[in-house]
Amino acid sequence: MKTLQLDKIVKQYGDKLAVNELSLEVEEGEIYGLLGANGAGKTTTMRMVLGLIYPDEGRISYYGKPHSKELEKIFGYLPEERGLYPKVKVCDQLLYLAQLRGMSRKDADASLKKWLERFQVPENYSKKIEELSKGNQQKIGFIASILHNPKIVIMDEAFSGLDPVNVELMKETVKELRDQGTSILFSTHRMEHVEELCRNITVLQKGQAVIQGNIRELKSKFPREKVMLRTSGDVAGLDSIAGVSGVERIPDGYSIRIADESAAPHILETAMKQTAIQHFEVKEPTLNEIFIKVVGGESNE
């Protein structure tokens, strides 16, 4: 049974269509990536999943059943704007939130101390949120969303504003949660996180799902358009090969854009005749490239 199932949900704000006929499924122990430019409808989708707002049409089911109050105990939510009381001590508010989700104060306290230790910020236990740096606030928000051992976690831009070390730390944590069977729906702008964590993704654009599916399959569906070539010496005449649309000189070699995959063998042939080859690769498109290609310039909105 799918943990989470969205069936053609539609949400309209005034005359603006925020989400249009979106369907997706998240299984147990899966991290599902929700991508899209700002204003594409990611947060709206997440709010609908949480039951904060209701879809105008379509159905959302959890373990095959509609939304109910019991779900509140197994939800974890990290909003994009952290969602913490700025003037309240970390321990006070996190224990409060965990208690509201049905955890006992004692268990919550032990769990909180464990997580603070894990994130190397045990000294923040009795500090106010406003005294912490942005990255540390982020960590506290992250802990707040998983403190009560939720089964379904929804994270909006979980890794933004963190340094690389802490991003790794959180990624490890997220993977661990996944391996324990937690289903995670998370949104991000950063493609490399998605490639590393997610099996399935949906790319939203103006409320429409423009790309959807398994990352591997998606990548193979998009044509390979780039050839990396590293050679000992110069290679001439690359741009006159049929199917090559551009050649760029890079240190120790060339980055060649091709319109057609059949041009690749000819490039290799041409190069082999002229010099020794150290590296030759027909690159599979990165998600970033796919994203930019599909969503286009609007990703900078």
């Binding site: 005034g14 509140e72 939510y77 909003p79 952290r82 208690q99 509201l100």
Partner: protein
């Protein structure tokens, strides 16, 4: 129920220990202490004031000046001394004034155009005005002397005494005095009732404004920091709203108790206790009905207003806009306050009667009627019932608005959207 307790606990814990709450309470406690001790403090200062010496330039009216000096110099703790020297000239008195031997002098002389037999005009010459109390003391003595002067010996002492008596005007309320004539204790009781009612009305208004603003600000803050999104997904809006309201109520109660304690401790200080005894106050004079019903109306009124404050707080997205948004509620509570406090002398007016059934005003106006003693039991019951129904209705509506409002950011939602959303969301 459990989550309600959690919310109340959190509200209390986070508010009670904040610096701002402690400082505000401390400042008010200091102000109350000063207020209670003010009469004593003033008396301390006035004790040090030297006796004022006033000379009299008698002219041909030596009898008057003699009587005047007798009237004042015979008194015990006197603040005025009248010095009469029949031979003194105006020049001498002026020198005495300059040397600081006297504060001023009174000149008695025949009024212009009047015969010497008429009572003279009195003019006070000095560098500084005579104080109000001293002036009225002298005037009252002079007016007695004037009566005597005109009557000469035509009236007996008894008649003179009658003339001095002001006219008495007493009221006997036949409805109240069924058990007998009104005694002074009854009068006192009524005064105490009025005092208790006024105190409760002021307390109601202050608590309402303070906690109401805190509730609204808290909700807006939760909304703008998006913590509301987490809260709503973990606890029902109704529990959340009422948890906050009850928590703030307890907070307000704690504050009131601290204030009352401060006032009580100060009143019990030895120097104040004596003054307290003087006015003959007895705790049994407080009508328990007034206090009991007062507390009922206080609590009900508080909840009615608090739900509205929470609802308004949830509509606004930024704390800056809050002041404007709570304006209508502030107006309502101001109206409740002023209608009651301006009608203290006329608790039977139509305005008070009608507004004592209007839920937003009844906590103050019905209380006023109860304090005045002019009410029927059914009126109080109906008023309380109306209030309770209004609280339930407002609570339900506010929780709906709360649930809907907290998710509306940015542009103002249209009425249609609000209606649609309110229909959809469970609370």
């Amino acid at each position: 129920m459990n989550s309600l307790k959690t919310v109340i606990g959190f509200t209390l814990r986070t508010k009670l220990l904040t610096k701002s709450f402690i400082i505000t309470t401390a400042i008010l406690v200091v102000l109350i202490s000063i207020g209670v001790n003010l009469p004593y403090i003033i008396s301390l200062f006035s004790k040090d004031e030297p006796v004022k010496k006033i000379g009299v330039l008698s002219g041909s009216y030596t009898t008057i000046s003699e009587s005047l000096s007798q009237a004042f110099n015979g008194q015990e703790n006197k603040d005025l001394q009248i010095i009469v020297d029949p031979n003194a000239t105006e020049g001498q008195l002026k020198t005495q004034l300059e040397n600081g031997e006297i504060n001023g002098y009174i000149k008695l002389e025949a009024a212009e155009g009047a015969s010497p037999e008429a009572f003279p005009s009195t003019v006070y010459y000095a560098n500084k005005d005579l104080g109000f109390t001293e002036q009225s003391a002298i005037t009252s003595v002079l007016s007695v002397l004037k009566t005597k002067w005109i009557a000469k010996d035509a009236l007996s002492d008894e008649q003179l005494a009658q003339l001095e008596q002001p006219v008495r005007f007493d009221t006997v309320n036949l409805k109240d005095s069924e058990e007998g004539p009104v005694s002074e204790a009854d009068d006192m009781r009524k005064m105490v009732s009025t005092f208790v009612v006024l105190a409760l009305i002021i307390l109601f208004f202050m608590t309402n404004m303070m906690t109401g603003n805190m509730i609204a600000a808290e909700v807006t803050q939760e909304k703008s920091s998006r913590i509301m999104e987490i809260l709503i997904t973990s606890v029902s809006p109704l529990a959340q709203m009422f948890g906050k309201i009850i928590g703030m109520f307890i907070l307000g109660l704690i504050q009131i108790i601290v204030f009352l304690l401060a006032a009580f401790v100060n009143l019990m200080l030895p120097h104040n206790a004596a003054a307290f005894k003087d006015i003959n106050f007895d705790i049994s004079m407080i009508d328990p009905n007034v206090v009991l019903l007062g507390i009922v109306f206080f609590i009900l009124g508080y909840f009615l207003y608090a739900t509205l404050f929470a609802a308004v707080g949830s509509i606004v997205s930024r704390t800056e806009d809050l002041g404007q948004a709570i304006m209508p509620i502030t107006m309502l509570s101001l109206a409740a306050f002023y209608i009651a406090s301006f009608s203290v002398s006329a608790p039977d007016s139509m305005l008070v009667k009608i507004s004592s059934f209007f839920p937003f005003f009844s906590p103050t106006t019905m209380l006023l009627r109860i304090g005045a003693g002019n009410y029927a039991a059914w009126e109080v019951i109906v008023s309380v019932l109306i209030l309770i129904v209004s609280i339930l209705a407002c609570g339900w509506l506010s929780a709906k608005i709360y649930r809907t409002g907290v998710l509306m950011y940015g542009k103002r939602p249209s009425w249609k959207e609000i209606r649609k959303a309110m229909k959809a969301y469970k609370i």
